[in-house]
């Protein structure tokens, strides 16, 4: 069995490089027919995490579709809409989350090239940027509160607090995922499946993080640049 001697590198090649022998051959996706396969010594497919994260993103998109369409309807149908003055610190948030998208991409690519230490470093940097983002969003809340603008002050502020809070919760979820991955960078997986699982999880986390970035850009534009 190949599993004993496989380095991370080979695993990566087997899964990411070789499309034909990857998890999706055959009519069904699972390739281990009848339990007597050759090359079937591991069955874990990273496609599971990839599919899972896209499905999860679809549902989060629907949540924000509901909330943003409420925003648009509420804005158009009433005469009590007072636009907020944008807290300047949101530019910081936006810049930070954009940069964090780049760092997690670098981190993911390092993992694919089996450069474990680089992977860990960029991942940690991403997590730090994530924390800075959350802190910066909180600063924006404090800023508004100092001006006496709270959730119920006017509909625009209600939506601002709501969007940033719901998005922020999803960012916190992303940070939990990053923390989990960081805890796993040190511990070398001794089984092929464990290693694959780690790569699959890292890829899914990267996709999710990019999504959070794009989502924030959309919300930011909608909140302050959409008339």
């Amino acid at each position: 069995m190949a599993a004993t001697a496989t380095s991370t590198n080979q695993v990566v090649d087997a899964v990411i490089g070789a499309g034909g022998s990857g998890g999706r051959s055959g009519n069904g996706f699972r390739k281990n027919g009848g339990g007597h396969g050759d090359g079937d010594d591991f069955h874990y497919s990273p496609a599971r995490y990839r599919v899972g994260i896209w499905v999860a993103i679809a549902s989060i998109v629907m949540l924000f579709t509901a909330l943003t369409s409420a925003y648009i309807v509420r804005m158009a149908s009433s005469n009590d809409w007072t636009p907020l003055e944008m807290p300047k610190v949101l530019w910081l948030s936006t810049t930070v989350i954009l940069i964090s998208s780049v760092t997690i991409e670098i981190s993911k690519r390092s993992l694919k090239r089996a450069r474990d230490s680089q992977y860990g470093l960029w991942l940690a940097l991403t997590a730090v940027l994530g924390v800075v983002f959350v802190g910066s969003q909180y600063a924006a809340w404090r800023n508004l509160a100092r001006q006496g603008v709270y959730v119920a002050t006017n509909p625009h502020s209600s939506f601002f607090y709501l969007f940033t809070a719901v998005h922020g919760l999803h960012v916190l979820g992303g940070l939990l995922a990053l923390a989990y991955l960081l805890l796993r960078t040190r511990k070398k997986r001794d089984s092929v499946e464990g290693e694959l699982r780690r790569i699959g999880a890292a890829e899914a986390a990267a996709v999710y993080w990019h999504f959070l970035d794009g989502l924030w850009i959309c919300l930011f534009l909608l909140l302050f640049f959409w008339k």
């Binding site: 599993a3 009848g34 949540l63 509901a66 909330l67 209600s158 089984s191």
Partner: protein, 631 residues
């Protein structure tokens, strides 16, 4: 190491040994499925008790019910239900049934148990999320039950009242009085809007929001599992129709529950944070102005709610359609008529379901042009529905039907789906809906098609899969009696509802005594009540049969007592922890190969290799396919 890796997939998680890990916090999809079924069986009892209480109140107003006096001394002083008490029964009956019965049992219950097995997987894609999905749903259930007592019990209500103005409880109802649709502004204002609208509504919203999260976790799992975990040879077009139904349902849940969740968050903020998403300005309630709110739109909630609400109808019934297709084919001993058409129809019904929410709002003052668009889209759902119905009839045509209990319930499903669906064509037209809106005609329509038909699908599924789940058969005699009384009973309840609706009897009213034009309907009301009580009592027989059969039922004669073809019937009953005991099945053919000419038996398992069956048939003279030589 190699060995560990090999077994990594097959036994991805080892069989648990402790009781808690095995039966309570289990990550085994089969246990989770049973947990969902038990949750539904519990919730449905609460829902049925509430419907009986409502019927008693309608037929015999002023009845003294001792237990109500004990439990809810304020809402039912002297054991007599108040009008508000009745309204809260309406709300909680609907919420309990729609969310915790019709959404849990068909999808979370049977889907969880059988989807992985039918596609040849050893578990769901994310077993831990699967466990979370059940327990989150369970917390939602507890919160909803809490809503009953937060309003119904002064002591429990007192705990909540201290949380703030919108949390005032203990008003003597059994929950909110605004119906399961929770329309603002009355649902957004707090106790000023009436008894039950304080803590009851807050807990109701929180319960639904928690339920949404649980359903989303489940849907995520279903979709990923189906896309990613099918065994070798299990192409999409070889899946049993049940799997197609669960898959479509999961997509609907995935895309519609987030919208309800969003709406719920906005409604809760209106109540506890003072925002005005749904509360318009200048509002007067009970003669007093509502301060501090301006500019909100109550219609916005209706759009968000029904964007979820209509797909929810299909979330309830599609799994029933899947089970019915599966069971009809099995007991008709014929391939399902038009497999591909069935797949496309089920998908079309699901997708069209996202574009028809406006038909719940014809009376909201929407533009007549949008109403016409919604009306046309609504009526077009009749096309895939008719395709399904005719294909079911085509499956039965010329068949030598085995009238087992599951088959009877599947046939009952077809009957109820047609009977309930046909009035959808009436209500889907704006001009007719203007008359029927908010009458018992609507109640009849959705109870038949969404409530009872779905439940019949689940009864069929229960009787059909029981031997697989527990290794014993349910009692056929009790099952048949259960079927006939229930079948006649539900028609006896809901056909008169249509007549009452045509008379103009409005839904949700607790008392019709003062309405001269409804005097003649009293006999019908009484008849319905008696039919309802008989129907509810016979469900006790089902519960008895279910529990008795688990322990004392006749042992299933073999692993495939119905002579069915799909993968779950290739494995022991009940299935081992990892379903296929380490041997991953290979699928060679479609799911409904019954009465294939030339085959030795009148059914061919999906795992039978191509050609093998015919070969065996030629060699085996005792086979009923005899001398066939063509496949």
């Amino acid at each position: 190491m190699a060995e560990a890796a090999t077994h990594g997939e097959v036994h991805r998680h080892p069989a648990p040994t402790s009781f808690i890990r095995k039966y309570i916090f289990s990550i085994d999809h089969k246990i989770i499925g049973i947990q969902y079924i038990l949750l539904a069986l519990t919730s449905v009892i609460i829902g049925m008790i509430m419907s009986v209480l409502m019927r008693i109140n309608l037929s015999w107003p002023g009845t003294h019910i001792k237990i109500l006096e004990t439990l809810f001394p304020q809402g039912a002083p002297g054991g007599v239900m108040s009008g508000e008490f009745y309204l809260s029964l309406v709300t909680m009956h609907g919420t309990m049934m729609v969310f915790f019965v019709l959404t849990t049992a068909p999808q979370g219950g049977f889907g969880n148990y059988f989807l992985p097995i039918q596609i040849g997987a050893d578990d769901m894609a994310f077993p831990f999320l699967n466990m979370m999905s059940f327990w989150v749903t369970f917390v939602g259930f507890i919160v909803l039950v809490l809503a009953i007592f937060a309003e119904g019990n002064a002591t429990v209500g007192g705990w909540f009242t201290s949380l703030g103005a919108s949390w005032a409880g203990g008003s003597g109802t059994v929950g909110p009085i605004g119906g399961w649709t929770g329309y603002p502004p009355l649902s957004a204002l707090g106790k000023v809007a009436g008894p039950g609208q304080g803590a009851g509504v807050n807990l109701w919203i929180i319960s639904i929001a928690i339920f949404c999260v649980g359903s989303l976790l489940g849907a995520l799992n279903f979709i990923t599992t189906l896309l990613n975990m099918r065994t070798r040879g299990m192409s999409l077009m070889r899946m049993p129709l049940t799997c197609w139904a669960w898959f479509t349902t999961a997509i609907l849940a995935l895309l519609s529950f987030p919208v309800l969740l969003g709406g719920g968050i906005l409604l809760l903020l209106d109540r506890i944070a003072g925002t005005s998403f749904f509360i318009p300005g200048g509002l007067y309630v009970s003669g007093a102005p509502v301060p501090l709110h301006t500019g909100g739109s109550p219609l916005l909630w209706q759009h968000l709610f029904w964007f979820f609400g209509h797909p929810e109808v299909y979330i309830a019934i599609l799994p029933g359609m899947g089970a019915t297709s599966h069971i009809l084919s099995t007991f008709a001993r014929k391939p399902i008529f038009g497999y591909r058409a069935m797949v496309f129809a089920i998908f079309a019904i699901g997708m069209l379901g996202f574009f028809v929410w406006g038909h719940h709002m014809f009376m909201s003052g929407m533009s007549p042009y949008s109403a016409v668009a919604f009306s046309i889209l609504t009526l077009s759902i009749g096309v895939p529905s008719a395709i399904k119905t005719f294909n079911w009839l085509g499956t039965l045509w010329g068949a030598r039907i085995r009238f087992t209990t599951p088959m009877l319930f599947a046939l009952g499903f077809v009957s109820l789906f047609v009977a309930g669906g046909i009035t959808g064509l009436v209500l889907g037209q704006t001009s007719l809906d203007f008359f029927f809106h908010d009458t018992y005609f609507v109640t009849a329509h959705f109870h038949l098609v969404m409530g009872v038909a779905s439940i019949f699908g689940m009864f069929a599924a229960t009787y059909f899969w029981f031997p697989k789940m527990f290794g014993r058969m349910m009692h056929e005699g009790m099952g048949k009696l259960h079927f006939w009384v229930t079948f006649l009973g539900v028609y006896a309840i809901f056909i008169p509802f249509h007549a009452m609706g045509m008379l103009g009897m409005p839904r949700r009213y607790s008392n019709f005594g003062e309405y001269e034009f409804l005097k003649n309907a009293h006999g019908l009301v009484l008849f319905v009540t008696i039919a309802a009580i008989v129907t509810v009592i016979v469900q006790l027989l089902f519960y008895f049969n279910f529990i008795w059969s688990i322990f004392k039922g006749k042992k299933a004669p073999n692993d495939n007592p119905w002579e069915a073809t799909t993968l779950e019937w290739t494995i022991p009953s009940p299935p081992p922890h990892d379903n296929f005991a380490g041997i991953v099945p290979t699928v060679y053919r479609g799911p409904y190969e019954f009465s294939v000419p030339g085959a030795p038996n009148d059914y061919i398992m999906q795992t039978e290799p191509e050609g093998a069956a015919v070969q065996a048939g030629l060699g085996d003279t005792s086979g009923n396919g005899g001398n066939g030589h063509k496949h």
